[in-house]
Each structure stands twice: as structure tokens, then as C-alpha cells.
């Protein structure tokens, strides 16, 4: 019975889209950036992707993706049946197969409930290969709504004690809903890690004890990308963008892709060699 059920679920997951919630508990650790970047990277791999902003009342994802001036309908309209799913999905200008369902800016999180989201998720699964839910900070209704329909979860954690504490709480809540989350450690500053001023990613993994799928370095390009609405993964020489691309490939089945640990830029000799045009 159980085996049959598992097989059925697996088949359904294969045929229909995967709903992945991107969460962290704490605010400001990079959930929205991660959602936009992983979504864009998956779309570049040829998958049909929708990123859903679940932060009702405080929408951001549209700005990060540079789609704020094209919003007509939002997630609340789509869930409440005021518009069709295709009407609420805003197509990205630069990347084919990438869509955004924005949050409502005028409502609050109580306007939706987990049951409505579960019902709505069926439509999303049929339409897209990947549905990435950008979960709001906190563990209240916004989190409940985002998690209700999710098959999988990615926990974003910054290498800070407070972020680890909140991520740990979120992981416990996800496990209680029988979701086994995966971990991305974001905003790593290798110089600080080497000096011992920042938590090492191994310490974070040691406490959280879930599967690590990526390490993302701190990158100034993130600020540029967010302000200009350009997808980070399209920016050349963005270490964070490259890291998110690798994470997307790992999500898409390339599980044996090695995880690159962010390191300090270059050693002294390499820097000198670089000045003279060697070692490139």
C-alpha cells in the first residue's frame, strides 16, 4: 500500500511540476534573491518555471526581477478566481519560460488560507515544471500558506548565529509537515571565515544537519542586480550568480555536481602573476 502510494506520488511528481518553497525564518538572508536567481537559472536550463511571491502586503520579487511595471493581476486574484492563472503570470522579458506571479500589495497575509493554496497548487503543477514559492519571513500565516502545497523546501541560511537559530526552527516545522528540506548557505564572506570572524559553513551544516545543496558568496553584484531588475544569473562574473546556477542544476537532477566552497579571491603570487598577464 505504502509502496504503491509512494510510486504514485513519484509518478505524479515526474509528470507534473515540482513545488519548492524557499524559506528561512529570518528576514534579510536572501530568500527573494535566491528565488529569482534559481528560477531564472532553471528557466535557462529550458524548464518552464514560475516564481510566486507569497509575501502578501510586502511584495518585492517583482522589483528584483524588473517586472513591477507589468503587473495587472496578483496571486490573491488568481487564488480567489478573479482571474485565470495565465492572466496572473507575468512573463519575463529576457528569459523564455520564466514567469512571475506577484503578491498583492494592498492585502494582508490572512486573505489567503492553506486550503486555498493547496487547491491552487494543482493548477500550478499542471502548467509549470517548477514552481518556486518565495516564502515571507516568520512562521505565521504567510509561512503556512507557502508550505501548504509544497513538495520540497530549500532553507536559505546566512552564516550568522541568529539566522542559524531561525533556520533550525523552520527546519523543525518543515519536518513536522514531512518535508525534508535542503540547505543553501548564503552571503558567505571567505575573508571573514578565514579570519574566524564568520561562521564556517561546516558549523552551520553541523547544527542544521540537512543536505547542503549550495554555498553562495557575498557579492556586490546582488545589489546592482536587485536595483536594476536584471537577473543575477545573466550577469557575467557574478560569483553569487554562478553559485545559484549550480544550485539550480543540482535541483534539476545533477546531484553529483560538486559544491564549491567560496574562497578568498587569489593568493599573493597569483595576484602578482595576474598583473603581468600570467596565469589566466
Amino acid at each position: 500500500m505504502t509502496t504503491e502510494l509512494t510510486t504514485e506520488i513519484n509518478m505524479r511528481c515526474d509528470l507534473e511540476g515540482r513545488i519548492i518553497v524557499i524559506t528561512s525564518g529570518k528576514g534579510g538572508v536572501g530568500k527573494t534573491t535566491a528565488t529569482a536567481s534559481i528560477g531564472a537559472a532553471l528557466a535557462l536550463e529550458g524548464k518552464r518555471v514560475v516564481v510566486v511571491d507569497m509575501d502578501i502586503g510586502l511584495r518585492n520579487l517583482d522589483v528584483v526581477m524588473g517586472l513591477e511595471n507589468r503587473i495587472i493581476f496578483n496571486i490573491v486574484d488568481a487564488v480567489k478566481g478573479k482571474c485565470k492563472l495565465r492572466q496572473a503570470s507575468v512573463k519575463d522579458r529576457r528569459i523564455d519560460n520564466l514567469y512571475l506571479i506577484p503578491a498583492s500589495q494592498s492585502d494582508n497575509k490572512d486573505v489567503l488560507n492553506p486550503r486555498e493554496m493547496t487547491d491552487f497548487s494543482g493548477e500550478l503543477r499542471k502548467e509549470f515544471d517548477y514552481v518556486l514559492m518565495d516564502c515571507p519571513a516568520g512562521i505565521e500565516r504567510g509561512f503556512e500558506n507557502s508550505v501548504a502545497a509544497a513538495d520540497e523546501a530549500i532553507v536559505i541560511c546566512a552564516p550568522e548565529v541568529s539566522s542559524v537559530r531561525d533556520a533550525d526552527r523552520i527546519i523543525g516545522l518543515l519536518y513536522s509537515r514531512s518535508i525534508t528540506p535542503k540547505l543553501v548557505v548564503n552571503r558567505i564572506v571567505p575573508e571573514m571565515v578565514e579570519r574566524g570572524d564568520m561562521l564556517n559553513h561546516l558549523d552551520v551544516v553541523d547544527v542544521l544537519s540537512i543536505e547542503l545543496i549550495g554555498l553562495v558568496p557575498m557579492d556586490d553584484q546582488v545589489v546592482v542586480s536587485t536595483n536594476t531588475g536584471t537577473p543575477l544569473v545573466l550577469q557575467k562574473k557574478s560569483p553569487a550568480g554562478e553559485a545559484f546556477c549550480r544550485i539550480a542544476r543540482r535541483i534539476d537532477g545533477m546531484t553529483d555536481l560538486p559544491i564549491e566552497v567560496p574562497r578568498t579571491d587569489q593568493r599573493l603570487w597569483k595576484k602578482i602573476a595576474g598583473k603581468f598577464g600570467f596565469g589566466k
Binding site: 548565529v161 542559524v164 537559530r165 531561525d166 533550525d168 526552527r169 523543525g172 516545522l173 547544527v207 544537519s209
Partner: protein, 230 residues
């Protein structure tokens, strides 16, 4: 001195042949016992010198440390010749119990222990009526509460409250002991910053304060001569 008064006194002294027999209540704090012994031996004046002293913890086991400390104090302060413990009396009742223990392999006892495997995460709370054993880690923000002892076979980083509500004769043990906060009975202590070494340590109450010691170095239960149900 009437008998009723004698029972209440925590330290009692009497002459016994060529020895001085000192019996004391081991539940009293060591400072108090030392003060009382000091007071009684000062009264003996020169009779204390080269005396043979027998220290008896009211016929109770497990107080060898107190006996040792009081013995050392007597030798240094009053120059007594020797300090020893009274010979153990053979008790029929105790013998019967031990025989039963051996025959039934301690099967005649029942102890309530909640034993869990896995990780206690931030925001999770585990409560055990009596003892609690966790084969795994307790993360920062996680809380474990027990009516008896708490044994963490892993890292303790969260809050541990043992002996709830008011039993302060319990311990909290962890293989890697860095709790945020410890509570034993009604005594509370803030956790210490983490040290690089990983040794099995335990916390217990000593003179009204929580003290953390190396478990293997101290071996707090190693001196109990016969296995007891906790």
C-alpha cells in the same frame, strides 16, 4: 545531653575504646560540618592530638569525599593520628535485596526513562516525567525538561532543565556540554561560552550552585558499590 537533642545535632562525638567516634549527617554542607567538627575538637584540646578518629556518615554509602575532606582537615588542624571509617555492618535486609538483584538480573525494578534518538531543534521542547536520554544533539533554542536526570549522548547547545520541579540531586550530562542555560531543581545557571575541547561533562548542584565537572575525571557514580535503580 538528652536523646532528642542528640538526634537533631548534625555532628556527634563520643569516646569509643581508644578512639574518638564522630558521626555526622552527610546531607549538611561541608563548610558547616567542618565548622562543627572544629568546634568539638577545640573543646577536646590536647586529647585530640594523636587520637584515632572514626568518621561515620550516619551509616550511609556514597559520601567518601566528605569523609576524606573532614579527615584531611582533622589531620592538618588537630594532628590526629589516624582517620578511618567504621567497619560496615552486614545487614540482613540489604543482603536479601542484593540476592534478589543477582538472581533476577535487576528485573524486579521499573524505571521510567524517555529515550529518544535524533536532533532537538530550535523551538522544540521535550518533556520527560522522569529521566530523559537523547541519543542525538540539542540545538540552540531547543529545550529538554525532565523530572529526573538528563543524559545527552551528543551535543547539548540548548536549554536543559533537570529534576523539575524541585529535585536538586540529579545531573545533566552531555558528551559535548555547551548549554545555553541549565536548571537543576530550582537552581538556575547561565551557560558558559563554548570551549574548543569536547569532553563529556556533567552539571550538578553543589552547595546551592550548579557546578560543571569532567564526567570521566570525577566519575560521580563509580563509587556506588552496588547497582541501584535511579
Amino acid at each position: 545531653m538528652d536523646k532528642a537533642n542528640q538526634v537533631r545535632t548534625p555532628v556527634r562525638l563520643k569516646g569509643m575504646g581508644d578512639s574518638v567516634y564522630v558521626s555526622f549527617d552527610p546531607a549538611q554542607p561541608i563548610e558547616y560540618l567542618r565548622g562543627e567538627v572544629d568546634r568539638l575538637f577545640k573543646r577536646m584540646k590536647h586529647l585530640a592530638i594523636n587520637a584515632r578518629v572514626i568518621l561515620d556518615a550516619d551509616e550511609q554509602d556514597g559520601y567518601e569525599e566528605i569523609v576524606e575532606e573532614l579527615g584531611k582537615f582533622l589531620k592538618e588542624t588537630f594532628s590526629v593520628a589516624s582517620v578511618s571509617c567504621p567497619p560496615r555492618k552486614r545487614l540482613i535486609s540489604e543482603e536479601k535485596i542484593r540476592k534478589l538483584d543477582m538472581e533476577r538480573s535487576w528485573d524486579n525494578y521499573r524505571s521510567d526513562v524517555l529515550m529518544l534518538t535524533g536532533r532537538i531543534r530550535s523551538g522544540q521542547k521535550v518533556t520527560a516525567k522522569k529521566h530523559l536520554v537523547i541519543m542525538g544533539d540539542v540545538n540552540p533554542g531547543g529545550k529538554v525538561i525532565a523530572g529526573g536526570d538528563i543524559l545527552i549522548m551528543g551535543k547539548l547547545r540548548g536549554i536543559a532543565a533537570a529534576g523539575q520541579p524541585d529535585n536538586d540531586r540529579v545531573i545533566v550530562l552531555a558528551l559535548d556540554f555547551h548549554p545555553t542555560q541549565i536548571q537543576i531543581g530550582k537552581v538556575l545557571a547561565a551557560g558558559s561560552p563554548s570551549s574548543p575541547g569536547k569532553t563529556a561533562e556533567f552539571a550538578h548542584v553543589e552547595n546551592g550552585a550548579i557546578v560543571v565537572k569532567d564526567y570521566l575525571g570525577t566519575d560521580p557514580f563509580g563509587r556506588i558499590p552496588w547497582p541501584r535503580v535511579r
